[in-house]
């Protein structure tokens, strides 16, 4: 532990810890408890009944569909972007990484809005789409697109720094020994960044499942058809069906808690991944 003169007096430490725990308790602990309390307010029977509603199950299916489309697409992109940024030298690299982060800087509502401007009835492709009887906005494709957009940067931004740290020496060695591009990637690059990928996928999935603002704009709120779980929560709440709203919300909260646990595990692995490589790099630089 720390030497006594290098920390604050015991009383200060005690007060600060208490202050921080009170703040976190009020802003994290109490809301967390409230979700489950409101969900179980009428007992366990209505709780499970609310989750077995056909609309809730339809919403669950749609959320799963959106996540199943968005996560692999963004995973593939993340791997390609990481490969391109970390292993090659080209001009405008900084611009590329900034552009990748763009969906984080944009309000979720605006993320939904841009797809309405593209595919909505008054949108750029609107007339053409309605001529060919294709619905994107207020239908499943729009929800999938909006979900891809908001969860877009997660995998890429986790992988890029990791790939930069691991450097290109190992890949070059593999190439010299005669391995092809794909084989090098699978046998050399991927094992080095495995947990970084897992970490990115966890964050990407959580965002894909939980997205509300962007999806809300493109969904049209058609019950049983274009409602994802978070939208179902909103509808139930606005109908004053609070217990059912919180029952569905508690399901999403459990998912969030599982995400946090997985995240801690993956984070630890990423640190193990990065440390030997970083160590080697520092040694090479003469530290």
């Amino acid at each position: 532990m720390t030497r006594p003169h290098l920390t604050e007096p015991r009383s200060v430490r005690w007060v600060l810890t208490a202050l921080v725990l009170t703040f976190l308790g009020l802003f994290l602990g109490v809301p967390l408890a409230a979700v489950f309390r409101e969900a179980l307010v009428n007992g366990i029977g209505p709780y499970f009944a609310a989750m077995q509603e056909p609309d809730a199950i339809a919403a669950l299916k749609l959320t799963a569909t959106a996540a199943v489309c968005a996560v692999p697409a963004n995973l593939l992109f993340g791997l390609c972007a990481g490969w391109a940024v970390a292993k090659f030298h080209f001009r405008g690299k900084q611009v590329l990484t900034t552009l990748i982060d763009l969906p984080f800087a944009v309000s979720p509502v605006i993320s939904g809005l841009v797809f309405v401007l593209l595919f909505g009835r008054q949108g750029a492709f609107g007339p053409w789409l309605s001529e060919h009887d294709v619905r994107i906005i207020f239908a499943v494709p729009g929800i999938v697109l909006a979900t891809i957009f908001v969860s877009f940067p997660f995998v890429a931004r986790e992988i890029i720094p990791l790939m930069e740290v691991t450097g290109t020496e190992e890949e070059e060695a593999a190439r010299v020994l005669g391995a092809g591009g794909l084989r090098t990637f699978i046998a050399v690059t991927l094992p080095n960044i495995k947990w970084g990928v897992v970490y990115g996928v966890i964050l990407c999935t959580a965002r894909a499942i939980g997205e509300f603002g962007a999806v809300s704009v493109v969904s049209g709120h058609i019950r049983g058809e274009t409602n994802t779980l978070p939208l179902q929560v909103e509808i139930l709440y606005n109908e004053y069906n609070f217990q059912a709203a919180f029952a569905v919300a508690s399901m999403l909260t459990c998912l969030a808690l599982v995400t946090l646990v997985l995240k801690v595990v993956a984070e630890r692995r990423v640190q193990q991944e990065i440390t030997p490589a970083e160590f080697a790099r520092r040694k090479a630089n003469g530290h």
């Binding site: 600060l16 391109a84 809005l113 841009v114």
Partner: protein, 260 residues
């Protein structure tokens, strides 16, 4: 490489390009009238003021929390540390309905506050509470690695030269943390400005009083006023870009300062 650019353009750049294209088609004069409409201006004010207050609260408590989590040990510290990311993992709609129920006049926290004359739900205070929740992890998560990296020897040197603990903190520790602290603050602020899900329930959405800009965009869309919605979106986007630029230059500054 080719695929990277193709996918990036398809999913991000082309959709976002619709905003300036749509705005250009409406003409400068109509744009100006739309974005300076009193109701729209009131929404900027509500959004910016609540976001600023929330970011300041998060900056102060984030600094304390990061310090306590890194430097002190207490039972359950690891669990608390893992829970910090809850606002990132929890869907915003869930946060929204939960905070509204908590702070409603008959809620767990709302009832006592209401009794002493502080209504929270359906007021700007409620919006600020929701924004504090949503921005809580940013400052903590940007400061934690900096505090971990802090060189104990420097503190030791200052102490052995006779500096009191408080003055070590003020003159040695804090200056080292300023860039990361500001970055965390800017991230929380930027996130708060665009926030929708957690705010829409607790705000009550009264035009001129508790209507935030992102909600106004949705309202305009529901009235099929696509152009008006786009104009407000462009203004919000400009504000986020200025913040993003500020964050990037702050990060450049901080890495130069730390000599990495």
């Amino acid at each position: 490489m080719g695929f990277t650019l193709f996918y990036l353009s398809l999913i991000v750049l082309i959709p976002l390009a619709m905003l300036p294209i749509r705005t250009a088609s409406m003409g400068w004069e109509r744009f100006w009238v739309t974005v300076t409409d009193p109701r729209v201006v009131a929404s900027y004010r509500v959004t910016l003021i609540s976001s600023l207050i929330a970011a300041v609260v998060n900056a102060v408590f984030g600094l304390l929390t990061a310090w306590v989590l890194v430097r002190y040990s207490f039972p359950g510290r690891k669990i608390v540390d893992a829970l910090i990311d809850l606002p990132f993992a929890l869907p915003t709609a869930v946060a929204g309905i939960t905070l509204t129920t908590l702070y409603a006049p008959n809620g767990w926290l709302g009832a006592p506050l209401y009794a002493i004359g502080i209504p929270v739900a359906f007021t700007p205070t409620g919006i600020t509470i929701a924004l504090i929740f949503i921005g809580l992890p940013f400052v903590i998560r940007t400061l934690q690695p900096v505090i971990e990296d802090l060189d104990r020897e420097v503190e030791e040197a200052a102490t052995s030269l006779g500096a009191a603990r408080w003055s070590v903190i003020r003159h040695v520790v804090l200056p080292y943390m300023y860039p990361a602290w500001l970055t965390g603050f800017a991230l929380a602020f930027a996130r708060a400005i665009g926030e929708y899900g957690s705010v829409v329930f607790i705000s009550g959405n009264m035009p001129m009083r508790t209507e935030v800009s992102s909600l106004l965009i949705i309202t305009k869309l529901e009235q099929y006023d696509y152009t008006g919605a786009t104009a407000v979106a462009v203004v919000m986007l400009l504000v986020s870009f200025v913040l993003l630029l500020a964050i990037n230059s702050l990060q450049g500054w901080s890495s130069r300062r730390l000599g990495r």
